[in-house]
C-alpha cells in the first residue's frame, strides 16, 4: 500500500510567514495554481481514496486531486495542522516578544512544548498516526491513497515512520503541494519519498 502525504497549496499566511494552525485561511492564487498542477500530476494514478484535513486550505487542495477521480473526499479533523492556540495569526518575532519563556522552551524541546491554549507536536503526532493507522486497516495491499494535510502533520508522521525524535520535527521540511510517500508492507511503514515537488515550476523548485 502507498500513502501519498500531500501538503496543501500556498496561502497568504505562508507567503507572509505567519504562524497559524486551525485558522481558516484559503489558498492564494499561487496555491491554487500549485494544486492544479498537483491534480494534473496525479491524474493517471489509480488513487483509491482521498482523505483530507477538514481545514479549508487542505480541502481545496484535495478537490484539485479528487476532481480527476470518481471518488469522494473523506474529511478528517484528526489530520488538522497543530493547534497553535494563542500563537495563531502571530509572527515569530511577536511570539518571541510576547511569550519569551515559552518560546525558549519551544526552542529547547520543539516536540514537547504545549502551545498556550493549543497542543504539542507530540499530541499532533499521536492523533495523526491514529488516523493513518485506521486508513491502513481500511485498504488493500495494492491500494494507493492520498492524505491531504499540513506541513506540521506530515513532519510528525514522517518522524513516527523513521523513528526520529519528535523534538527534531523541524528537520523535516515539506513544500506546498509536494508529495511524500510512505510504503506499507506487512504493516511495516517505510519512507520511500520525501518532498517530491517535481511538478512545481522551475522558479519554485529549490
Amino acid at each position: 500500500m502507498k500513502l501519498l502525504l500531500i501538503r496543501h497549496g500556498e496561502t497568504p499566511y505562508n507567503a507572509q510567514g505567519l504562524i497559524y494552525g486551525h485558522a481558516q485561511i484559503p489558498l492564494n492564487e499561487r496555491g491554487q495554481a500549485q494544486a492544479t498542477r498537483l491534480g494534473q500530476r496525479l491524474k493517471q494514478q489509480p488513487i483509491r481514496a482521498v482523505y483530507s484535513s477538514d481545514l479549508i486550505r487542505a480541502m481545496h487542495t484535495a478537490h484539485a486531486i479528487g476532481q480527476h477521480h470518481a471518488i469522494p473526499i473523506v474529511t478528517d479533523a484528526a489530520l488538522r495542522e497543530l493547534d497553535v492556540g494563542e500563537w495563531e495569526h502571530k509572527s515569530v518575532p511577536e511570539v518571541q516578544q510576547q511569550y519569551p519563556t515559552l518560546y525558549q522552551q519551544y526552542c529547547a524541546t520543539p516536540g514537547e512544548l504545549v502551545y498556550p491554549g493549543g497542543e504539542s507536536h507530540r499530541v499532533l503526532q499521536h492523533r495523526a498516526m491514529q488516523a493513518v493507522n485506521r486508513y491502513v486497516t481500511l485498504h488493500q495491499k495494492d491500494d494507493i491513497i492520498c492524505i491531504v494535510c499540513h506541513g506540521g502533520t506530515i513532519a510528525a508522521i514522517v518522524c513516527a515512520v523513521l523513528g526520529l525524535d519528535i523534538n527534531l520535527h523541524e528537520r523535516i521540511h515539506i513544500d506546498n503541494c509536494a508529495i511524500t510517500t510512505i510504503e506499507v508492507t506487512h504493516d511495516v511503514m517505510r519512507l520511500v519519498c520525501l518532498n517530491d515537488n517535481t511538478h512545481a515550476t522551475t522558479e519554485e523548485h529549490h
Binding site: 515512520v161 523513521l162 523513528g163 526520529l164 525524535d165 527534531l168 528537520r171 523535516i172 521540511h173 509536494a178 510504503e183 511503514m189 517505510r190 519512507l191 520511500v192 519519498c193 520525501l194 518532498n195 517530491d196 515537488n197 517535481t198 511538478h199 529549490h206
Partner: protein, 202 residues
Amino acid sequence: MHIMLVRHGETAYNAIGRYQGHMQISLNDTGFAQATRVGTRLQHHQFAAIYSSDLLRAVQTAHAIATHHHQPVIELAGFREIDVGLWEHLTVAEIAAQFPTDFAAYRTQPGRTIYTGGESYAQMQTRAMRALATVMQRHDEHDTICIVCHGGTIRAIVCAVLDLDIDNYTQMWIDNCALTTIIQQHGKLRLGNLNDNAHATQ
C-alpha cells in the same frame, strides 16, 4: 549549497537481490537506461562539480550525467557503498544460513553491526561524512554539486543530516538513479527531498 545525491543505476545483482558492496559490477541495460534518464533530467542544472564513488556502477552513472555538462567526473573512494565483506555475492537467505550469528545481530542493530569481514553502516557513515565535508570545503554557498553514490551511502548521509539513529536507516528506501537533495544553509545541513524518482516514468 545544494548537494544532489544520485544513486547509481540498476546492476544485475540489484535485479536478483545479491549483495555487491565494493565489487566492480557494471550497470545492466535497465541501469544504463535509468542513467540516461537521470542525465536528461539534470541537463539544465549548473553543477560546480560532479563527484562519484570510484566503484564502476557509480562512475558509469556519473558519466551519463557529466556528458551533458562537459565536466570531468571526480572519483572519491570515501563515497563507496558499505564494504559487505564475506556477504558479497550472497542473497539475504544465503547470508542468514551461512552467518547466522552475525545476521541475527544485524537484524537487531542494522546500523551498528559489522558485516562479516567488512564494515558497519556506522563506520561507512563516518567515512562518507568525512568525504562530504572535504568536498563541501571546495565550494561556496551558491554552488550546486552532484555526487553519484550508493543506496547505503545515501541513507547513511541522510541519517547524519537528520540526526536519525543509524540503526533506523532501514526505515527509508532509495531507488536506482533517484535524487536526494541536501541543502546547506547558514552553516547547517537539511534534507531538501528524498528519493525523487519522477523521471523514472517520464
